[in-house]
């Protein structure tokens, strides 16, 4: 059942996001090609230059837009499909509340991660195109990734641990931030009126609480760890923030689950 819910969620979100992702990738390529064929700086061609500037600006905006879009869409899907009219269908399916929330969460995290990856990929494509005017395209592409890998390899043995920690942190962060929205919405929508405004209010409340708690956390780490030099403390910081986010995410999950199961108020 979870698989089916997940499948539908991926489809529903993908119809909007996949074209956007493709557009961003294409823009990266177009931009790159434009730069690649840019005439010499010595003989400036102002129209061409303006065109490339405009395209670059568009691309930057597009990359920002795509990441924002993936978030907004995740929130929109949760509200529309579970808390709005479609909720009459979804919440009466023979599936548990847990599965309904999980399906949304998985799809949201996956698409948000893909958005980030696509943006990184787009920029690197773009950069590669720029530089390939002088060097061969493929060589450069390989070269770029060599640099990235060696950066990690340099830190003896720990490079891969850092990479793993980063990846986990990204996933946990995404899950955490989505669940924060889900909890705020399921609470706000349980009331009879001003549902959206109350959701925003709850979200702001969560944000404030989170700021307080994380400051306390960093503070206590600083006290216990003494100084911040050395790779050890970086690990401590990363791992403790992963744990912190997991704990808070669990709290958001519980709130979401409770309000969806007991306080659902479809109208």
């Amino acid at each position: 059942m979870l698989g089916k819910l997940f499948k539908y969620e991926m489809k529903a979100t993908g119809r909007v996001l996949l074209p956007a992702f493709a557009a961003v990738l294409v823009m990266g390529i177009i931009n790159g090609i434009l730069y690649m064929f840019m005439p010499d700086i010595d003989a400036p061609n102002t129209i061409y230059a303006m065109l490339t500037i405009v395209f670059t600006v568009i691309m930057v905006l597009a990359t920002v837009a795509v990441i924002v879009m993936s978030y907004v869409l995740a929130i929109y899907r949760f509200q529309k499909n579970l808390l709005g009219r479609e909720g009459y269908l979804m919440n009466t399916l023979p599936v548990s509340t847990t599965k309904n929330i999980l399906a949304k969460l998985f799809a949201a995290v996956i698409y948000e991660a893909i958005a980030i990856i696509i943006v990184i990929f787009s920029y690197s494509l773009f950069l590669v195109f720029i530089a390939s005017a002088d060097i061969g395209f493929i060589e450069l592409w390989r070269g770029l990734w060599d640099v990235v890998f060696s950066l990690f390899a340099e830190i003896p043995g720990e490079g891969w641990i850092y990479a793993a920690e980063l990846a986990i942190m990204m996933v946990v962060s995404l899950a955490y931030s989505n669940l924060m929205f889900y909890a705020a919405m399921s609470m706000g929508y349980s009331s009879n009126s001003h549902k959206a405004i109350k959701s925003v209010g709850v979200y702001v409340g969560f944000y404030i609480i989170n700021q307080i708690l994380s400051t306390v956390l960093v503070g206590s780490i600083a006290i216990t760890c003494g100084d911040f030099s050395g790779s050890g403390s970086v690990h401590v910081l990363m791992i403790s923030s992963i744990i912190y986010e997991l704990v808070i995410a669990a709290a958001y999950w519980s709130l979401t689950w409770f309000f969806m199961k007991r306080k659902l108020n479809l109208q």
Partner: protein, 233 residues
């Protein structure tokens, strides 16, 4: 032998200060078509939401096929909400696939037959349909399940007379001695002829529960006429 498909005993539901249902008890038997009749705000929708798990009781019990409301009971209950609740980005055949995926008792063949009889094309995107057609599609999906309990919440609100006849006809055609149908409505004269029994509900309480035949012979008037009397403002 009629099974008791739904049973409420001493059911109470409070909604933020208001008592939506007060000490409601009723029994819904298979093989019968029930009318849940009452003015707006009387608790009809609350009762239906309790039966399909969208709400939980404040006190008392509601059992579907002898079980508490939950995932299992939802497998046996086919619910038609009073608004169109389907994802409108899908095409009709995708909606059919959706129902087929989640409900074991769904009969896709029947759904396609009903679509055809209404001249609806299954490749059409749901959002491009007229409101009336959207409601018909939703009805088709709900009635193509071979469920034990059909809960229809205001199935005829705002539809034209031809559609209304189609809905009534569909309910009759899908009649099964193993299933019960509960139609919640405040438009009684439309639906009276197909009902076995009616439950009058007012301000959260069941004020009358009887067969249509009894009501007509005891009172010498239609259920609709009696209702107007009972609920006279």
């Amino acid at each position: 032998m009629n099974d008791i498909i739904m049973e409420c005993s001493g059911l109470w539901k409070n909604y933020g200060g208001m008592q939506a249902l007060r000490n409601v008890s009723c029994r819904i038997q298979s093989g019968r078509i029930y009318g849940l009749l009452g003015p707006n705000g009387s608790g009809k929708t609350t009762l239906i939401k309790l039966a399909n798990g969208l709400l939980t009781p404040s006190a008392g019990k509601i059992l579907i096929n002898g079980e508490e409301v939950g995932i299992n009971s939802r497998k046996a209950v086919s619910y038609l909400p009073d608004c169109v609740a389907l994802p409108d980005w899908m095409r009709i055949y995708e909606l059919i696939k959706f129902y087929d995926d989640f409900y074991e008792d769904f009969n896709a063949k029947k759904a396609y037959q009903m679509l055809e009889s209404l001249n609806l094309f299954s490749g059409q995107r749901f959002k491009t349909l007229s409101k009336g057609n959207k409601e018909k599609v939703q009805l088709i999906l709900v009635m193509s399940r071979e469920a034990k309990l059909y809960l229809l919440d205001e199935p005829m609100g705002g539809v034209d007379p031809a559609t209304r006849d189609y809905i009534l006809n569909t309910i009759i055609t899908n009649y099964s001695p193993d299933a019960a149908v509960v139609i919640s409505t405040h438009l009684i004269s439309d639906v009276e002829n197909i009902l076995d029994e009616v439950l009058f509900i007012n301000r959260g309480e069941i004020v009358l529960s009887d067969t249509v035949d009894n009501i007509r012979s005891d009172n010498g008037k239609s259920v609709d006429a009696l209702f107007r009397e009972v609920f006279r403002c």
